[in-house]
């Protein structure tokens, strides 16, 4: 299990897609390749854009299928961030089923 505290990298508003990609490539994919579970911790993050969340997780669903969602937990998300994550997860599954 690995836990990633996003606030340290994104600050209160997660909008920089380059940071999202860096986390995905350097943290998330290596962890999944080792079959580790992941906690994405949004504590102190007040908001995020759909672009950021897409750059963070969409390729994981594309590469590993819906099952990858059983290995990822989203922690301390406020209602807005939950809403945006839900949108990205839903449209990715809708697009690829």
């Amino acid at each position: 299990m690995i836990s990633i505290k996003l606030f340290k990298k994104t600050g209160p508003f997660a909008e920089n897609k380059d940071i999202a990609r860096e986390i995905r490539l350097n943290k998330l994919i290596p962890a999944l390749e080792k079959n580790k579970n992941i906690i994405l911790d949004f504590e102190q993050v007040e908001g995020a854009t759909q672009s950021f969340i897409h750059a963070l997780i969409s390729d994981l669903i594309r590469k590993y299928g819906n099952e990858v969602l059983e290995q990822i937990q989203f922690k301390s998300c406020n209602e807005t961030i939950k809403g945006i994550i839900t949108i990205v997860v839903d449209y990715m599954q809708e697009s690829h089923n």
């Binding site: 600050g11 508003f13 909008e15 920089n16 897609k17 380059d18 990609r21 995905r24 007040e46 908001g47 854009t49 759909q50 672009s51 897409h54 750059a55 969409s58 390729d59 594309r62 209602e79 807005t80 809403g83 945006i84 839900t86 949108i87 990205v88 839903d90 449209y91 990715m92 809708e94 697009s95 690829h96």
Partner: protein
């Protein structure tokens, strides 16, 4: 929007080729305070006492890198002294629109942004302009819009991106950014306009109480033009009315429903039909 457009146009010119005629005293001071003359590299000859911008306006700002965007977003929200219910959509709108410019426009001058708060109408007016390739060229990489207006229509449709024709987009782009912005404007009864090439799409304020989003922007109350003088690049204007701002979470629920419905309909349109003989 006009101010950002003039600045975007002027930044491509040498200051020697820029001349202002008959500026009235009031507009002269306003333009000076918003930083237009400084931006264009010309002297206005006006001396003003600069008051703090806090709570009133965001002067003309050029953003060329993701790092500049992050810095701008961090600084701009406190500048306008907004409650969280208003700050949330504002930074969302600015971030997504400016990032669109940085990623897709290929403009060497980046995005030119300005905003002004109007206390009487409790409205923030935002203008973002670029002098890049324009929407038609971006969308045409993966789709075949017949003209600028059709390209704007596709750009506003969820799941349509210039980077791929596949559903779900690429690892980096989903084709949802402009749909989100239009949806924020629809739900909040805000003004939203986009101009690229010779086409313009204007979202009109919804007049019914029921809030409904459409994947196809032509199904929203709107007006459009396709015979304007060409703008090389893209201009977006949005007014945020602080009195009608809805909860962001309500908006996200509506976006989710509309987005998934659009994908389902597009996929269904591609289904093979049984051949009855």
């Amino acid at each position: 929007m006009v101010l950002s457009t003039i600045a975007a146009l002027g930044i491509k010119l040498s200051p020697d080729n820029i001349k202002f005629d008959n500026l009235e005293a009031r507009s002269k001071h306003y333009l000076e305070r918003m930083g237009l003359f400084k931006f264009l590299g010309i002297k206005s000859g006006i001396k003003i006492t600069e008051h703090e911008a806090t709570g009133r306006f965001v002067p003309l700002t050029q953003i060329k890198t993701p790092e500049e965007l992050t810095k701008f977003i961090t600084e701009v929200t406190p500048l306008l002294h907004l409650e969280p219910i208003h700050a949330e959509p504002l930074r969302y709108i600015l971030s997504e629109l400016i990032r669109n410019v940085l990623e897709h426009s290929l403009s060497k001058h980046g995005a030119i942004v300005s905003a002004q708060y109007y206390p009487k109408t409790k409205t923030i007016r935002i203008g973002i302009a670029d002098t890049g390739e324009g929407i038609w060229k971006t969308i045409n990489q993966s789709h075949n819009p017949q003209n600028d207006l059709e390209a704007i229509r596709l750009a506003l449709t969820p799941g349509i991106t210039g980077t791929t024709s596949k559903e779900g987009g690429t690892e980096y782009n989903a084709g949802a950014g402009l749909f989100f912005i239009k949806s924020i404007a629809t739900v909040n009864k805000d003004f939203f306009v986009i101009h690229s090439g010779n086409a313009l799409y204007k979202l009109l304020k919804r007049n019914d109480k029921r809030i409904g989003l459409h994947a196809d922007p032509f199904k929203d109350r709107h007006s459009k033009k396709d015979d304007l003088p060409g703008w090389q690049g893209t201009i977006v204007g949005i007014d945020m009315s602080l009195d009608t701002t809805q909860e962001f979470s309500l908006l996200l629920r509506l976006i989710n429903e509309t987005y998934n419905k659009a994908i389902k309909e597009r996929k269904k349109a591609k289904y093979k039909k049984p051949q009855f003989i």
